[in-house]
């Protein structure tokens, strides 16, 4: 009983000891914040990484692909039928895309992906990232008659701050407007040319009979090329205030150049019409992938057997049932398909280095921050030693009154425990409230310093994602308390071992 009483009185009368646990508090708070933010980021990232690709990808090692997706899908079903819930063949090819801005063509390097619009939604969350509500239900490679989202539908309504005004007219209205504008320009140019010609009748040489070229009758006001879905990072950019700007919209035409799957290789160039934009919020994908119908791509690249009509594919995306072990399925598939021709990977394998990097970052940060708490532990040790020296006479008195050495040790151990609990407890509360208000704090800091702390143009999230894992919080708190107690063991032991007579004589 006297242990608790004295421990309580020492706590109440020695605020210096509370000062020495401030570092424990700060360490705990920082660890909780860092872990929550890292967990949030990595969760968000994994979600998005897995969102665009199937759980397992069977790839042909040849860029020109292999024939007969149906036969391959049948074989996959035979090997891992029970775990497979969806499959979709795709064709991947590196390409150059030209975006027309005014008189200039902007060239972009992209990966052109041919997808089957009916089955691709069954293997990835791609459909959910599109900007037209009807396309989210069922993707069609046709330009819609307006109705594209003006606000990012993936952010909660309360946080929708930046309207994408350009999207209001996207689709046919925009396309018609552009066609009208182009026609007008042409008329003006013709008129100017006519004036020139009339001024100098010999300039153009002999008159040619203009032959109607292929596509001459293509009227952009009512017709479209094959549809293409662009990544938001391919056709736009985000400024650091979080607003999006577009250089191509649904309704625009783009030109894409890519190699044919023939020998000798031959580059071809096709026009596509933008029908939608996707935003996976994973900048790696958003700036890289553009999607077209697989059949059109197979035709353009010459991947269809003229006799049988069977196309080639470069990858099959496989969606597994919930709870299936992707590694086991991958290994089974890898055995079934000759490895010199096919590679089988899970989505984790694909992004392995990135995920591993995030994990390692978290681990290193945890070690460093725990060392900070350990340093705080030495602070506690030093202050406790001082308190024991200061209390030497009291220890002697207690011993003369019959207190056991365990009891004296108990006073200082429970003192350490109390400090640890207070320090870690306050730290936990501080950390949690910081995490709960992290975006407000980031905004306030940004306003204060003039530089945004969290730049949405860098991360493609509008706000800092956080996940509080109760397990992590528990072990951080418990660890900090343990360090505080461990730091008080040595001074407590010293106090317990004091000789009563020498302690009583201590001045």
């Amino acid at each position: 009983m006297y242990k608790l009483l004295l421990c309580w009185r020492y706590l109440r009368t020695r605020y210096i000891a509370l000062v020495c646990i401030v570092s424990v508090t700060l360490g705990v708070a920082t660890m909780i914040v860092v872990n929550s933010v890292m967990a949030g980021f990595s969760h968000e990232m994994q979600n998005r990484l897995n969102g665009m690709l199937g759980d397992i990808v069977l790839r042909s090692r040849s860029m020109d692909g292999v024939a007969d997706p149906l036969a391959h899908m049948q074989k996959i079903k035979n090997v891992a039928g029970a775990d497979v819930v969806g499959m979709s063949p795709t064709v991947h090819v590196p390409a150059l895309m030209y975006l027309q801005v005014g008189d200039q063509a902007l060239t972009r390097q992209v990966t052109l992906v041919g997808i089957d619009k009916d089955t691709y939604a069954s293997v990835s969350k791609f459909g959910g990232y599109l900007q037209h509500p009807k396309n989210r239900e069922q993707l069609e490679f046709t330009v819609r008659d307006g109705g594209y989202d003006v606000y990012d539908q993936q952010t909660p309504v309360a946080e929708q701050k930046h309207p994408r005004n350009a999207m209001k007219t996207a689709g046919w209205p925009y396309r018609r407007y552009k066609a009208r504008l182009k026609a007008q320009k042409e008329r003006i140019a013709q008129h100017a040319a006519a004036l020139e010609t009339s001024a100098n009748p010999f300039q153009n040489g002999p008159a040619e009979v203009a032959e109607p070229a292929e596509g001459e009758h293509f009227d952009p006001a009512v017709e479209q090329h094959t549809g293409i879905v662009l990544g938001i990072g391919v056709c736009g950019y985000r400024t650091s205030d979080g607003a999006d700007h577009f250089i191509a919209l649904p309704g625009d035409d783009v030109r894409v150049s890519f190699p044919k799957a023939t020998l000798p290789p031959e580059a071809i160039s096709e026009f596509y019409t933008v029908v939608d934009i996707y935003e996976s919020k994973m900048s790696e994908y958003d700036t890289q992938f553009v999607f077209v119908p697989i059949t059109a791509l197979q035709q353009s690249r010459g991947m269809v057997d003229p006799e049988t009509g069977i196309g080639k594919f470069t990858a099959i995306q496989v969606k597994l049932r919930e709870g299936a072990d992707p590694n086991a399925v991958r290994d089974r598939l890898a055995e079934a398909f000759p490895s010199q021709l096919y590679s089988v990977t899970t989505w984790r394998d694909e992004q392995g280095p990135l995920l591993a990097a995030v994990q390692m970052e978290t681990a290193v940060l945890n070690v460093l921050l725990f060392l900070i708490i350990a340093v705080a532990g030495f602070g506690i040790l030093a202050i406790f030693f001082m308190i024991v020296v200061e209390k030497t006479r009291d220890i002697g008195i207690l011993k003369s009154l019959g207190a056991s050495w365990q009891g004296v040790m108990g006073i200082f151990l429970s003192y350490g425990l109390c400090l640890g609990v207070v320090g870690a407890g306050v730290g936990t509360l501080l950390g949690l409230s910081f995490v709960w208000n992290i975006n407000e704090i980031a905004d306030a800091l940004g306003r204060l310093t003039g530089t945004p702390v969290f730049d949405p143009s860098v991360y493609y999230f509008y706000k800092i994602p956080t996940i509080i894992e109760p397990f992590t919080v528990t072990w951080i708190t418990a660890g900090a308390v343990a360090i505080a107690v461990a730091a008080s063991v040595l001074p407590a032991w010293r106090a317990a071992r004091l000789h009563p007579v020498r302690a009583l004589r201590f001045e």
Binding site: M1, Y2, L4, L5, L6, R9, Y10, T13, R393, D394, G396, I397, L398, K399, S400, L401, G402, A403, S404, W405, G407, H499, P500, V501, L504
Partner: protein, 259 residues
């Protein structure tokens, strides 16, 4: 006992001729506390300074014994040995017929807690606790948290009663630093009696007090001795204070001289 023998560390035999036994000089009461051939020296490096050189002492039940002697003659050391706060290098201490100087630590803690009361020259109250809490300290040490919570009412009654006896009823909630020296010593006396000990060891109880306060404390001790049925051993350098005891012995050069 030669100086050389002490320095080589050879403990002298307690059974040697160490002077006359003082016990049972025509008294019918049995000896409650007995010291037999106590030796103690303080070491600093290899050099030992002998303090007690064969002390034989016997205190009868209900006796008030005072030990006088000049400063530094080892009075306090002797009292610490009797109270098991320190261990002798040679010799034995017996309490109620049992040898107590070689008991394990936990038994000696128990002995000091229940059977011995101690008073010191510098009062030795705990500064963080109030007067009442200081008086209750031995009970707090004796009982675990749960047991104390169950028995605290009885302990409180006993503590307030003792504080009333020493005239500190109006000071229960005060901290020791708010008290005068005499008041602090009276609080210390109340504390030493809380567990109803049979033996009170007082180390210069009036050493830090003026004449008036000293007399007050001595009167109080005499009164309590009768009331609580105490045996008191007191060391002091003040002959006048020593006079108040039933018996006075002198400690000189580490040995007892019967006065």
């Amino acid at each position: 006992m030669s100086q050389a023998a002490l320095q080589t560390g050879t403990p002298p035999s307690p059974t040697g001729s160490t002077g006359p036994r003082l016990a049972a000089l025509g008294d019918t009461q049995p000896a409650v506390l007995e010291a037999r051939g106590l030796f103690k020296s303080y070491r600093r490096g290899a050099v030992g300074t002998p303090v007690l050189q064969g002390i034989d002492l016997s205190i009868r039940k209900g006796e008030f014994l005072s030990i006088v002697g000049p400063s530094g003659c080892g009075k306090s050391t002797l009292l610490h040995l009797l109270g098991t706060l320190d261990a002798p290098e040679a010799g034995e201490v017996h309490f109620d017929g049992h040898r107590i100087d070689n008991l394990p630590t936990s038994s000696r803690d128990l002995l000091r807690n229940r059977y011995f009361g101690m008073i010191f020259q510098f009062y030795h109250l705990l500064p963080e606790l109030s007067v009442l809490e200081n008086v209750l300290a031995p009970a707090l040490i004796c009982d675990g948290t749960l047991k104390y919570l169950r028995t605290r009412r009885a302990h409180r009654r006993r503590a307030t009663e003792l504080l009333e006896l020493v005239g500190l009823t109006h000071r229960l909630k005060h901290k020791p630093r708010e008290l005068s020296g005499g008041e602090m010593q009276r609080a210390a006396i109340a504390r030493s009696l809380l567990m109803e000990p049979s033996l009170l060891l007082a180390d210069e109880p009036t050493g830090n007090l003026d004449r008036e306060a000293g007399e007050q404390v001595m009167a109080m001790l005499g009164e309590l001795k009768a009331r609580e049925n105490l045996t008191i051993v007191m060391v002091t350098h003040d002959p006048w204070i020593a006079e108040q005891a039933d018996r006075v012995v002198r400690l000189e050069a580490g040995r007892i001289k019967t006065g």
